[in-house]
Amino acid sequence: MAAPQDDTRSKIAVRSLWMTFQRKGDPAQPIHVLEDIHLDVRDGEFVCLVGPSGCGKSTLLNIAGGFLKATQGEILADGRPVLEPDPKRIFIFQENAVFPWLTVEENVGFGVKRETEADRKALVSHYIEMVGLTGFAKTHPRELSGGMRQRVEIARALAAEPDVLFMDEPFGALDYLTRLRLRHELIQIWQREKRTVLFVTHDVEEAVQLADRVVVMGRRPSRIRAIVPVDVPRPRDLDDPTCRMLRDEIFGVMGLDHQGQRVSGDSTGSIQLPPHLRK
């Protein structure tokens, strides 16, 4: 068992991960989604995965969450291979997986593992308050807006007291203003709670605003094309020159200009990365 030394220091360690899907009805033409992915996420770190849609970033997250099995390679959590979902690492879904038959309070309490009833209750109301839903404890999800439902899901995840949150485009289905507000709230919560977050988004600005490091993935079959540290104090203003520069850099790595237009070099790996972004 000669594990590389940093495996034990990394909260999440992705080791030479490959993922291939068999195409239904055409097994001769498998879809190669992920190619030799390596990634280390430190404890308490906020890492965003960005990339064009269909690049396999959600697939990577689902493997990390224990919902999918990789074709090759493995993901380690606290040094142990991830084989199945674990309450220590909670997944937050874009589609919103809040249980509609339970009230807000019952949803938030779903994964709580405290001994006494008083403890449970205190924890549940603590997280309901944290996501700004005080007064909605007895409400059913269908009476809430999409943004509020996503807050319930975040509260439910936090109330299970996990070490890691996997967030799969959690704000992707929300309107622009709600998305902006929830980003701010998420950062505030994260700064208070200091959990490790692995956050998938296709929105480069979202990634720059949230992440300690942005992992940029290319088109399928995708590899990690660059890992961009965002060393800007929070809360971050997207109009801040550094943020804008980083955003443009990430677009550049993806082969796009800041308007999202394809630029020369495409995304096939022929462009020259600035030295600090080279892997």
């Binding site: 969450g65 224990g66 919902f67 199945e84 979902p85 674990d86 309450p87 690492r89 909670i90 997944f91 879904f93 589609e95 919103n96 997986a97 249980f99 509609p100 038959w101 339970l102 009230t103 779903f110 994964g111 059913h140 999800p141 269908r142 299970a160």
Partner: protein
Amino acid sequence: MKDRLQSIGLPLLVAIVFVTGWHFAVKVTGSDIFPTPLMVVAGLVELAQKGVLVKYIVASLFRVTAGFLLAVFVGIPFGLLLGWFTPLTRAFNPAIQVLRPISPIAWIPVAILWFGVSDVAPIFLIFLASLFPITTAAMAAVQNIQLVYIRAARNFGITGLDLFRKVVFPAALPQILTGLRLALGVAWLVVVAAEMIAVNSGLGYLIIDARNAGKRYDLVVAGMVLIGLIGLGLDLLIRQMEKLDEVRWGLSR
């Protein structure tokens, strides 16, 4: 206010026109056998005075309740299991799909052969009639559960029977309830048919007996009216359940 006036006033108007038309149609044709609405009401009063009205209603309701509940207790667990375990679906679904289109009425001779002329025969028929819609609904409900609910539950460490109790069943409940409503409607149709043949009490028996014993068509129609009203009542009852928070999320669309 206007909506309320319309939703009560318009159906009332239709009823008045219908009953009046019925009355004059009987008068104009000079039928000796077919009753006017008033004669039907008199028939109902006669049944009540003889003490059979309540007795027959209770007999029919008892059979429906017994057969339906039996089907609920068998059909829901069976359907949930079928929906959850794909090999079970593959094994049982063809048989279910062959048995399902057989009208419960076709089972009457078999029911009499097995259970004789007793309460058991109609209860068995109602059980059969309700079982297929309930089982099919429960099966489809489980198959339609959104994968994210199952994934989220597993993520929180919920497995096995707990997963069924806490997620699969509640997630399937709205669609199951729709199946129950369908089944109860069919059960009520079937009890009347079964009582015409297999027993000597109940609303179905009332209809066939009134016709056979002296062509009392006032009582025949009285029985029909009762069947309609009670059927409506049963449906309203089950619709009340659709208002519960546990299922409303999956129905209001």
